[in-house]
Chain length 171, copies 2
């Protein structure tokens, strides 16, 4: 499996290079035949995912929290004391790659690794006060982002989309 970020979207750098794909094709130049690409699930999925992640990143830019970081903070907040391996597993992040993520969150003072009473191998993850405060703000911005997406999808669109996406992802 794979982490909740990826998306190929550069979080730090400001994007906007080359140009967006196929602006409706101006006057003169003959339209380019996409060969049905936009009607393929995978292509449509990818395009949508990129857009949504871009919007997410813009929405939380103030806090500099990526989609992946948001998911990590959220899970730790709801399940304080989980081991690194547990958090990484539910999120589909490999524990080896998860190390650096926790390093960064710890460096920023959002998370701490705590000793576990009966197991000297594992680290229990908990949010600091600062981490909780940061998550609270992030969640607010994320909710706004989510609402914005919902509006684009029309009445009942969001729920329908979630159902369909789960159908694709399940099993």
């Amino acid at each position: 499996m794979t982490p909740p970020d990826g998306s190929g979207v550069a979080r730090t750098r400001r994007r906007q290079a080359d140009k967006a794909p196929s602006p409706p094709t101006g006057a003169g130049e003959r339209a380019i035949d996409m060969g049905g690409l936009p009607d393929f699930i995978g292509y449509a999925l990818r395009r949508a995912q990129i857009r949504v992640f871009e919007d997410f990143i813009r929405s939380l830019a103030k806090l500099d929290v990526s989609p992946a970081q948001f998911s990590v903070l959220l899970v730790i907040d709801r399940n304080p004391g989980l081991k690194q391996s547990q958090v990484s597993a539910v999120l589909g992040i490999q524990r080896t790659n998860f190390v650096a993520m926790v390093d960064e969150l710890e460096r920023r003072g959002l998370v701490v690794r705590q000793a576990v009473p009966n197991d000297r191998r594992s680290h229990a993850l908990v949010l600091t006060d600062h981490g909780r405060e940061n998550l609270r703000k992030a969640a607010k911005l994320q909710a706004k982002h989510e609402r914005r997406l919902g509006e684009r999808l029309g009445e009942g669109g969001r729920e329908a989309l979630l159902r369909l996406l789960r159908a694709l992802a399940s099993t």
Copy 2:
């Protein structure tokens, strides 16, 4: 914008590391609270995209054609003679990164860069016979893949999904 592949999916390597996110939570260990993550568009989108790309890659493994390569071959086939920059632009690939892609496709004998009559800067891209044949086979496998996805989505699900995804991606 961004290319049609990405997806964080390793095409070459065989995947399956760590374990899939949150298997329904067995008996003993208390369920982990995802904090509503699965109900967020971005998260669901990402998960679905990964799954779909994995399936695509498996489906076309025989031909060793990635989603990105498939889209490139398709566009060149439908619009023979387009310049590199045109192809990369419609697909949302930066022209600098597109160079290596064309190199590879050319190396494999699927595509050729042709001189353009009135412009000595640009290269016109066309499929070779081998490239066309390869695309034909790829399209067949892709169609099967697409049908399989459609079945998962139920009656009218595919069309509904495409509509919703386009709503997210547009503008």
